[in-house]
């Protein structure tokens, strides 16, 4: 089973009379437990790629499968439900709700699902990410690194199959960035997630299983000599 699979997915935008090909026909897949980095200059189509996988926009052609289920053809409402269940998003900075404490960010998931709050799981997850002491702090009271760790906890809490991280280290200094990426790599392995991280920082790719480069809408796998296990 592939956690993420793209079959001949492409995306075109109309810009006036011109058609821009943001993503050229792409085949791509990620296995459970695999940590993939996508690097490339800004405007290369990295974000388009990630948002198509996340179901925030539909491909012009081709299909996206999440856990072998055709995802990209579902109606927006259904896609939102799948997104909520199967995908954990980690964004640059602001994906925490400013008026909820760290543990309330996780509880929100239960509130939306109308499920019971799993206190043990919250505690374990926050301890794992070393932010248990900050459980009752608001995002505004945390440092950038702490915020991203809280965001990772939030993304992992509902146990999604897929983690999509869009520049998760953009607002962090190098040591903090490395720390966050190490946590992502560890959680991917421990919890058998399929993780895609979009970044512009090539120094971080050494913690990933495979690295893809996006340029002008073309996704190409970078050869890696020191890594094994990638497709």
């Amino acid at each position: 089973m592939k956690s993420i699979e793209l079959k001949q997915v492409s995306k075109r935008f109309k810009d006036g009379s011109k058609t821009i090909e943001a993503l050229k026909s792409t085949d791509f897949s990620v296995d459970p437990g695999e940590f993939v980095a996508v690097i490339g200059p800004s405007g290369s189509g990295k974000s388009t790629f990630l948002t198509i996988i996340g179901g925030l926009q539909q491909p012009s052609e081709g299909n996206v499968f999440i856990n072998d289920n055709k995802f990209s053809e579902l109606k927006e409402k259904k896609r939102a439900q799948r997104r909520f269940k199967d995908i954990g998003f980690i964004l640059q900075a602001s994906n925490l709700v400013p008026f909820l404490t760290v543990q309330e960010q996780l509880k929100l998931v239960n509130k939306v699902e109308k499920s019971k709050i799993d206190k043990k799981r919250i505690q374990d997850l926050l301890q794992e990410l070393d932010i248990y002491d900050l459980a009752d702090k608001y995002p505004g009271e945390l440092s950038g690194g702490e915020r991203q760790r809280a965001a990772i906890a939030r993304a992992l809490y509902h146990d999604p199959a897929v983690i999509l991280a869009d520049e998760p280290t953009a607002s962090l200094d190098t040591s903090r960035a490395i720390e966050v990426v190490k946590i992502l790599a560890r959680e991917t392995k421990d919890k058998n997630k399929a993780t895609i991280m979009v970044t512009h920082d090539e120094r971080l790719t050494k913690y990933c299983d495979s690295v893809y480069v996006m340029e002008d809408g073309i996704l190409e796998k970078q050869s890696m000599n020191d890594k094994v296990g990638s497709i």
Partner: protein, 362 residues
């Protein structure tokens, strides 16, 4: 509710301001409702006290009690369970011996037969038992300091009446009522010392279990009117009720707009956060419900506080202010405020629905 309440707790000052505004509007609306009700009661209280079903007036009187003149003998022709004659005169009185025109008091004089059902309840003193004795509304004591046994000089006439007792809830056309027997009424109304049986009364009040249509009056020149129609046609009554009604209606709409705009601005400020939530797969309906829940909380807290403040104010108002609580009206206007505030928040729900999660990510 989770998000709604957490956000209120987090941004206390901001939401306290909104609640403050709802409170003030609700206070104003409730207070106006109390004043409107109190004032309308000043017009009709004495009529409500009759507990009557209809009133027989002359057809030509245009439902104006003063303009209707009926021969008292007509009473026997009316086929109702109970009937009672009444004569009404406006008058000005002042305590005897006082020359100061400042103490002039506007009153309505009701001439009634103490054997009939219009006889007022007595809360102090006793019913009139002789000519030129009157039972007065208790506000005459509370506001003007009139006591039992006081003699009142009638303006423009060389007559006096003596207060034998007090009743309550007896105000008609914003004036306290003096009850006297029909002879006294006729002498005052027609300024004559004779007591003549044919002197007319103004109306015959009817209590009847049957419908108005089956009431037989036995005279083409007379007509029976339902008591509520008669109250609506009291001079000034409808104009006053409509004026207050319009003011209250506008205030409710303004409150809805103010709350709606506040919530809308707050929602606009949160657009990117809400976009991220939608990207995470949290449904539009969950977010929309949370916006409505928040509006509901703000409105309920504000309206309840305004409600409480109104009742508190009502308890401390001097008797001269025609303020009266009517809990049914208070609850109705409060409910209207809450419902309209929710309607105002619907703009924001549309905004939430339109947020594109893609924009929040890119």
């Amino acid at each position: 509710m989770f998000l709604a309440w957490k956000e209120i707790k987090f941004s206390k000052t901001r939401f306290a301001l909104i609640i403050g505004i709802v409170l003030l509007v609700s206070y104003l609306v409730s207070f106006l409702t109390g004043l409107a009700y109190g004032l309308s009661q000043e017009y009709r209280m004495a009529i409500d006290k009759w507990d009557a079903d209809s009133i027989v007036l002359t057809s030509e009187s245009n439902q104006n009690l003063n303009m209707s003149m009926i021969d008292p003998s007509e009473q026997s022709n009316i086929s109702a369970d109970e009937t009672a004659r009444i004569g009404v005169a406006s008058n000005i009185v002042r305590p005897e011996g006082s020359e100061d025109s400042d103490v002039n008091i506007d009153v309505s004089l009701f001439g009634i037969d103490p054997t009939e059902f219009l006889t007022p309840n007595i809360i102090e003193g006793e019913l009139f038992s002789a000519e030129n004795e009157v039972v007065a509304d208790i506000t005459l004591k509370e506001e003007e300091g009139i006591e039992i046994g006081d003699v009142l000089q009638l303006s423009g006439q060389d007559r006096t009446v003596e207060v034998s007792g007090f009743t309550d809830n007896a105000r008609y056309s914003v004036a306290p009522v003096l009850y006297a027997d029909i002879q006294t009424y006729q002498q005052i109304r027609f300024d004559s010392d004779e007591s003549i049986e044919d002197f007319p009364v103004n109306a015959i009040v009817v209590r009847d279990s049957q419908s108005l249509d089956s009431l037989n009056i036995g005279n083409d020149e007379l007509e029976a009117y339902p008591i509520n129609d008669f109250i609506s046609s009291l001079p000034g009554y409808n104009a006053q009720v409509l004026t207050f009604g319009l003011m209250i209606g506008f205030l409710v709409v303004i409150a809805a707009l103010v709350v709606g705009i506040f919530i809308y601005v707050l929602t606009l400020q949160k657009t990117s956060m809400l976009g991220v939530m939608k990207a995470q797969g949290i449904s539009t309906s969950y977010i929309a419900k949370s916006v409505l829940a928040q509006t509901f909380l703000l409105a309920v807290i504000g309206v309840m506080a305004g409600f409480g403040l109104t009742i508190l104010t009502g308890a401390f108002l001097p008797a001269a202010v025609p303020y009266q609580n009517n809990y049914l009206f208070l609850v109705a206007t409060s409910a209207a405020l809450i419902i309209f505030a929710l309607l105002g928040a619907i703009f924001s729900v549309r905004t939430v629905a339109k947020i594109d999660p893609l924009e929040a990510i890119e």
